[in-house]
């Protein structure tokens, strides 16, 4: 036998998801239209079981399939982030798909497959496996972006995403090819060993290859200048999917990037930190500057997610354990604040997934006191004001930079925080300080969505006030 059962243990979480995805595919055929929600429940169960398996195996450290797949605390931590995101996104989708009359099983099935790809992306040291995982998850994301296929914007967004994504992938595969040409392997450990003794000419080629590979990852995490798909896709995709896309693929891509730079590119650290320094600064500054002018909540969150990717890159540029741990922690914190904010966007959205203009939030804080208060918490959290998870996350990211003596990076980071406070607080202004809404705005009165908003708000505050155990988990997950 080519693979032993031992190998399969390492991919149990993925196998569970795959199993449920196939189950949905089959069961969907017999389900009458009004019972399609069962698909969603099945997907939810799949996520829960996968989550449980990740938790039980949290501390295992094993490699499988000839070192192609690893399962370690880092991959498990990222899996937890992705599965929580998926859970919330599925809960947000129940009533949404009913409202839009798009209640098809394929939605959940594609979602589950894409999570499988993300988990694989997060648990490998092999560039070629990373490439396959990136491609697989991207296909899922393209489909889900254009899922409302009668809505022009949605299809346009999907097309844009697809074309730009394919373009970025070619760079990724080119970079991987160059590494293979240089060192005869796509395994990051081998590349590292090769780089350690490489001549300076090889090193320069490796830097070029690094840039190509980074284009691929940069596209996934929406780093400047590979960000341009983000606002369109976030604004046009079904809201639960925008929420999902803003967190889960990023978590996977960030961990893959971490493995790539920390393990594979260790010997040329001095070079890549300089490149990423510039990219981090450009990403956060660009995201925040453009977000200042946005009128639509989903689009604003799209630009803000670019800025947040910039903050997380700060942790990578710091190139120390605190920084890497801070990136993981930030992903965890970001999951709650961003999903919450997107859930509010869904709450105010109208049929055909429209009506998410910020102006529609006028007087929102008084009409819906609890949900308004939750949105207030999300906005302060995204701006990085205590006592929220966003503050703690930013504090560690920037203090990692300070630890590596990157004072300017930290200062640019905090100035960006201050700039971003303007547009996040502007939403609070609209909600509380601009008087009542003149015309009646109908909201999407879905109980699961409301539950998501309130629970994520509580989580954001809880993590902000008692971050200790989450932070330890994030710091301990970094073992490379």
């Amino acid at each position: 036998m080519l693979y032993s059962t031992h190998d399969l243990v390492a991919i149990i979480p993925e196998l569970i998801l795959t199993g449920f995805a196939f189950a949905i595919l089959l069961i969907d055929l017999w389900l009458p239209k009004r019972a399609k929600t069962i698909n969603g429940l099945l997907a939810l169960f799949g996520v829960v079981f996968s989550f449980a398996s990740v938790l039980t195996m949290y501390n295992t450290n094993m490699t499988a399939f000839n070192h192609m797949i690893v399962m370690d605390r880092a991959s498990n931590f990222a899996s937890i982030v992705m599965l929580l995101t998926a859970f919330v996104a599925i809960v947000m989708s129940f009533d949404f798909l009913k409202r839009e009359d798009y209640n098809f099983g394929e939605y959940y099935e594609v979602l589950l497959f894409s999570i499988v790809a993300m988990e694989i992306l997060a648990s490998t040291y092999s560039l070629i496996v990373m490439f396959i995982a990136v491609e697989t998850l991207s296909i899922g994301m393209y489909i889900l972006t254009g899922f409302l296929r009668n809505k022009d914007e949605s299809v346009e967004g999907a097309m844009k995403y697809f074309i730009l994504g394919s373009f970025a992938s070619t760079f990724l595969v080119l970079g991987i090819g160059m590494f293979y040409g240089l060192f005869g392997s796509t395994d990051l450990n081998v590349i590292r060993a090769g780089l350690t003794h490489a001549s300076s000419f090889y090193k320069w080629i490796a830097i070029l290859a690094f840039i190509f590979v980074f284009v691929g990852f940069g596209f996934k995490i929406a780093a400047f200048p590979f960000h341009s798909w983000t606002p369109d896709v976030y604004a046009s995709a079904p809201t639960p999917m925008s929420a999902f896309m803003s967190v889960a693929p990023k978590a996977a891509a960030f961990l893959a990037l971490l493995r790539f730079v920390a393990v594979g590119m260790g010997p040329i650290e001095a070079n890549w930190t300089k490149i990423l320094w510039i990219i981090a600064v450009a990403t956060m500054t660009f995201g925040n500057m453009v977000a200042l002018w946005q009128k639509d909540l989903k689009r604003l969150l799209g630009y803000s997610s670019i800025a947040h990717a910039g903050y997380m890159l700060v942790g990578i540029v710091a190139a120390n354990e605190l920084g890497y741990g801070a990136v993981m922690f930030y992903l965890f914190a970001y999951l709650f604040m961003n999903l919450g904010a997107f859930a509010v966007a869904e709450f105010i959205s109208q049929k055909e997934d429209r009506g998410t203009e910020i102006e529609n939030l006028r007087g929102f804080g008084y009409k819906y006191p609890l949900i308004g208060a939750a949105m207030l918490v999300f906005m302060f959290c995204l701006a990085g004001v205590p006592p929220t998870a966003g503050f703690v996350g930013k504090y560690y990211l920037f203090s990692a930079a300070v630890k590596s003596h990157l004072y300017w990076l930290a200062i640019i980071g905090v100035i960006n925080s201050a700039i971003s406070a303007y547009f996040y607080l502007n939403i609070v202004v609209v909600m509380y300080m601009k008087g009542e809404q003149e015309r009646e705005v109908k909201v999407f009165n879905s109980i699961p969505v409301k539950a998501v908003i309130l629970i994520t708000a509580i989580c954001v505050l809880y993590i902000g006030i008692f971050p200790s155990s989450f932070l330890s988990a994030a710091l301990n997950s970094i073992i490379f």
């Binding site: 205590p386 503050f391 201050a418 300080m433 932070l471």
Partner: protein, 521 residues
């Protein structure tokens, strides 16, 4: 070293009781507005009563932190929930617990929409403000420092005047931009302390002994300086203040002037002076110059204000200039005077804002020209206003005199010319305050709208009378207060005058600047 003589977490109780109150108020139905007001006031009054033992059990013979509580918080980085007070923060804590219930009492009529949200906001603000003054862990300090921005932001933005959105955004962004610089400095201090001593700590008391080299002290000092100077606010960082004050509701102005601004001056005493002694000496003159500019600038601008509230707001810039001057004179009497000035400003300016609120509530205007001859219509009101005006311009017998005199004496002992120069500032403050008083209260009643203006009611008496007591108590027998801060201030100055270990030779003359320490009898 640390002690908690009560064996009871008194500081946590007074800090988080208002938070509990906020939850309780949140549960009350919005329609029971009076019940909400009573419950909120009850919590704030209870908070004050619980804080009184702090004063009586405080041991004035030691500079160590008292009523200390220490619980590990974020273990992987060694951050703690570490709180305590010394002779410097004690009175700021008491000022907060004292002033907030009075401010809340002033809103019973003035705030009549979104009453529930307002009272929740004021309770949350109380927790944030107290947290700043009791924190002895710099991460904890920073958390509270930022947290209290949110309720103030909401208070100005929701219950403020016509330009409230601009004012509150300016307030928030200005302060936030300053504080994030401090955040970087806090991070840097954490790692640099480790570099020079081998231990990671965010314990403020330990960091005060941090042996930092000269050039690093400078950057850290500047970062903290920006954050605190914006908060004080020192000239030229004051531009947010008039906006915030004019647009804020009365209670917001009272708390802003009375307590929030003190966070800036307190920050200097807690961070800049003890942690960066070399830089304190190096920058002292510059800061003194800025403080003096502030004193005169505030007074001159106040002179031409047509709006009473704006006048009082600019007078704050001037008064806190005194506080900064006394502090950076770096003499015992100067620093003590600086702390007295903080307390006095809280009392007098707080009272003046309350008084402005009283007429605004009745007439909905704050323009000086709309009034005139009020003394004959509302005698009790005029009397209160007179006393607080005198206190504000530091007439002997009132609290203002003690603070200003000590500051001037401290400055005089530092450099004679400073004391002499600034003594003239008093003339200007008398000019703008008394002119305003004359135009509002004396002469004949020219505006018919003022006829039939009712005098102060019982509730208004209730919240102004306690302030009056302190005007005279501090004015006549300040030793009650000074005796409790003496040892802490002595210790602070000892820290400021220590020579740090790693000092390059060329800078020696700066760190060796001699300082006169005056023993007050």
């Amino acid at each position: 070293m640390d002690m908690n003589q009560l064996h009871f977490p008194i500081l946590s109780v007074i800090t988080f009781l208002p938070l509990v109150g906020a939850f309780v108020v949140a549960l009350i139905n919005e329609e029971h507005e009076n019940l909400i007001r009573y419950v909120t006031f009850g919590f704030l009054a209870l908070d004050f009563i619980i804080s009184i033992p702090l004063f009586f059990y405080f041991d004035p013979a030691t500079y160590h932190m008292q009523f200390v509580e220490r619980v590990p918080w974020i273990k992987s980085l060694g951050f703690q929930y570490y709180v305590g007070v010394d002779g410097i923060s004690l009175f700021l804590v008491l000022l907060t617990t004292f002033l907030t219930p009075l401010a809340q009492l002033s809103t019973w009529k003035a705030i009549n929409k979104k009453v529930k949200l307002f009272n929740i906001t004021i309770l949350l603000m109380q927790t944030g403000m107290l947290g700043v003054f009791i924190s002895l862990d710099m991460f904890l300090f920073y958390v509270f420092w930022e947290v209290q921005l949110i309720p103030m932001y909401m208070m100005i933005g929701i219950w403020g005047g016509p330009n409230r959105v601009f004012a509150t955004m300016k307030f928030f962004l200005y302060t936030f931009a300053g504080s994030v610089m401090m955040m970087v400095a806090i991070m840097a201090l954490y790692f640099l302390h480790h570099k020079f001593t081998g231990t990671y700590t965010s314990d403020i008391v330990k960091l005060m002994q941090s042996p930092l080299p000269y050039h690093l002290q400078m950057w850290l000092f500047l970062a903290f300086f920006i954050a605190f100077a914006i908060k004080v606010p020192m000239w030229p960082f004051h531009t947010w203040l008039p906006w915030a004050h004019v647009e804020a509701p009365t209670a917001g102005s009272v708390l802003l002037a009375g307590i929030l601004l003190k966070m800036g001056t307190y920050g200097f005493l807690r961070f800049n002076l003890p942690m960066f002694p070399d830089m304190t000496h190096a920058f002292a003159l510059l800061i003194i110059i800025l403080a003096i500019i502030g004193i005169f600038y505030g007074a001159f601008v106040a002179m031409v204000q047509p709006d009473i509230k704006k006048l009082v707001a600019y007078s704050s810039v001037s008064h806190l200039g005194y506080s900064m001057l006394g502090m950076f004179a770096l003499t015992q009497v100067g620093v003590e005077g600086s702390i007295m000035q903080m307390i006095n400003h809280g009392i007098s300016t707080g009272a003046l804002f309350l008084l402005v609120g009283i007429v605004y509530e009745r007439r909905h205007t704050r323009l000086i020209s709309e009034y005139g001859g009020l003394a004959s219509l509302t005698p009790a009101y005029a009397a209160f206003f007179m006393i607080f005006t005198l206190s504000s311009i530091a007439v002997p017998g009132t609290n203002g005199f003690i603070g200003e005199f000590m500051v001037l004496l401290g400055a005089f002992l530092d450099k004679h010319i400073l004391g002499i120069l600034v003594a003239f500032g008093g003339i200007f403050s008398a000019t703008y305050m008394l002119t305003m008083y004359k135009r509002v209260f004396f002469n004949k009643v020219t505006n018919p709208k003022n006829l039939g203006l009712p005098d102060m009611n019982i509730r208004e008496w209730l919240y102004l009378a306690p302030l009056l007591v302190f005007v005279f108590w501090i004015g006549i027998y300040p030793n009650t207060f000074l005796s409790k801060m003496r040892v802490s201030v002595e210790h602070l100055l000892k820290q400021v005058n220590r020579t740090t270990v790693v000092t390059p030779a060329k800078n020696e003359q700066i760190s060796m600047v001699k300082t006169v320490v005056v023993k007050k009898g």
